[in-house]
């Protein structure tokens, strides 16, 4: 055990105190109690967790600190929280609760928040989400506000901007593949992870551990995130929390590839 383990991160969607799962950022399905889900992931020795309130920004709500406190007291692993974050003060409060990192989406486009937050808390606590949708002509564009507003910016250019501003990590998600369980957008993950120095977390499309293995061994992504795969089971999408055992995770990375970059 001398090199870093592959990072495999369940990404939980929440809204109004409910655990949800969308497909292509639409059609949320109710799955249960998010606190209970966090508790189960903790018992499964999950290495890292991302929780995103998928409606906070759309509904103009500030982060639900009471809920975040409940997450923090059940999750003894690095926890990243996102949804509705648009100020340094909110980030201060969330990190103070014991959350490891925040993920900022829409508010990152103001050009100031990421720089200010990275300066105050260090880049390592600031993750920027990069939600990508393809046009019918195959051009990639970054969308914000839970996939409802197009910035028109190409994702590699956007990723570079965010790196410049001080983001410590990027959460890159393919909207088109989200919930589809047919594998990651390897070309997108490859392009973005090569464009920047900071770690990229790839998300969107994972259906099996083989999808994760392909992502980790075919691109420079530092981590693989997935939602559906860890919270649903079977073709009818029955709610079921799962997380692979440590030995399975360790085997995800091709030893010839060496350290994840």
């Amino acid at each position: 055990m001398s090199s870093l383990r592959p990072r495999l991160i369940p990404c939980l969607q929440v809204a109004d105190g409910e655990l949800l799962k969308t497909r292509r950022f639409k059609d949320p399905v109710y799955l249960g109690d998010p606190i209970n889900a966090v508790k189960i992931f903790n018992d499964l020795d999950c290495d890292e967790l991302i929780v995103v309130d998928i409606r906070a920004t759309l509904e103009g709500r500030t982060p639900d600190y009471a809920l975040i406190e409940e997450f923090a007291s059940e999750a003894f692993m690095p926890l990243t929280y996102g949804g509705g974050i648009d100020s340094v003060e909110q980030i201060r409060r969330i990190l103070g609760i014991g959350i490891e990192k925040v993920v900022v989406g829409t508010a990152a486009t103001d050009g100031k928040l990421i720089a200010a937050a990275a300066h105050t808390f260090g880049s390592q606590s600031i993750v920027v989400s990069v939600d990508v949708r393809k046009t019918i002509f195959g051009r990639r564009e970054v969308w914000i506000r839970s996939g409802t507003r197009n910035t028109g910016i190409e994702p590699c250019a956007y990723a570079l901007q965010m790196q410049e501003q001080g983001a410590g990590e990027l959460f890159v998600q393919s909207i088109d593949l989200e919930g589809a369980r047919c594998g990651y957008d390897l070309a997108l993950m490859n392009d973005v992870s090569k464009a920047v120095r900071i770690p990229v977390i790839g998300c969107g499309g994972a259906g099996t551990l083989d999808d994760v293995r392909r992502l980790m061994n075919s691109s420079r992504v530092a981590a693989a995130a997935a939602g559906t795969m860890f919270v649903m089971h079977g073709k009818h999408g029955a709610p079921l929390i799962s997380y692979p055992r440590a030995a399975e995770i360790a085997s995800l990375l091709d030893p010839r590839k060496g350290l994840p970059r």
């Binding site: 055990m1 870093l4 690095p78 014991g98 770690p199």
Partner: protein, 204 residues
């Protein structure tokens, strides 16, 4: 009286440390005054962010002297992350002196242009003093810890290195000198392994 006191100098992740002790059913309190630091049974010195910012905050809080005095009292003290780095003589990240409680220095990672900094993620450690109370039950192959740091500690003497970790070369993931110890990783974020380590500390 609380089993474990956490130095409260407006820096660090006292919240998640307290959460984990709560899970262990170990009582904690935040030590915000010299008297509460000096009266502690066991002390944790947390720290995140820049080295100088932490050192300065500790001085500004008026608790630096009492932390040193506590360490001299032979009761257990554990530094976590930058809290561990503060136990050393100083850091290449900053200009301010550390507490100098352990003969070690905080250095840059070797920059070969390829190594990603910070060292962030789960990594295994090799316990160099496996019989130490903090290592109890943790010397198994599967034990691992969560790291986030951009500078690394190097001991003057190997006898002070409690645990080694490899990332761009070997560094000390744990250091110790009598009652003073530090860990570079975050036990409070290292689920059952961190829980075990903090449990070991609370009974040391």
């Amino acid at each position: 009286m609380a089993e474990v006191s956490i130095v409260n100098y407006n820096i660090g992740n006292a919240g998640s440390i307290c959460n984990m002790f709560r899970k262990l059913q170990v009582t904690t309190e935040l030590a915000s005054t010299p008297a509460s630091v000096l009266g502690a049974k066991r002390l944790i010195l947390p720290g995140i962010g820049a080295f100088d910012a932490c050192v300065k905050a500790l001085s500004d809080s008026g608790l630096r002297g009492s932390v040193l005095e506590f360490a001299a009292s032979k009761r257990p003290i554990l530094g976590i992350c930058v809290g561990m780095q503060m136990l050393t003589f100083g850091s290449e990240e900053g200009d301010l002196p550390g507490l100098g409680l352990i003969r070690a220095h905080t250095r840059r990672f070797p920059d070969d242009g390829e190594l990603r900094i910070p060292h962030m993620g789960w990594n295994g450690v090799r316990w160099q003093i496996p019989e130490h109370a903090l290592a109890a039950g943790l010397t198994t192959d599967d034990s691992r810890f969560y790291f986030v740091h951009s500078f690394r500690v190097v001991c003057e003497s190997p006898s002070n290195s409690l645990a080694a970790c490899t990332y761009g070369g070997e560094f000390s993931a744990g250091i110790v000198s009598a009652n003073v110890a530090g860990v570079q990783f975050h036990p409070e974020k290292s689920h059952r392994f961190g829980l075990k380590l903090l449990g070991n500390f609370a009974t040391s």
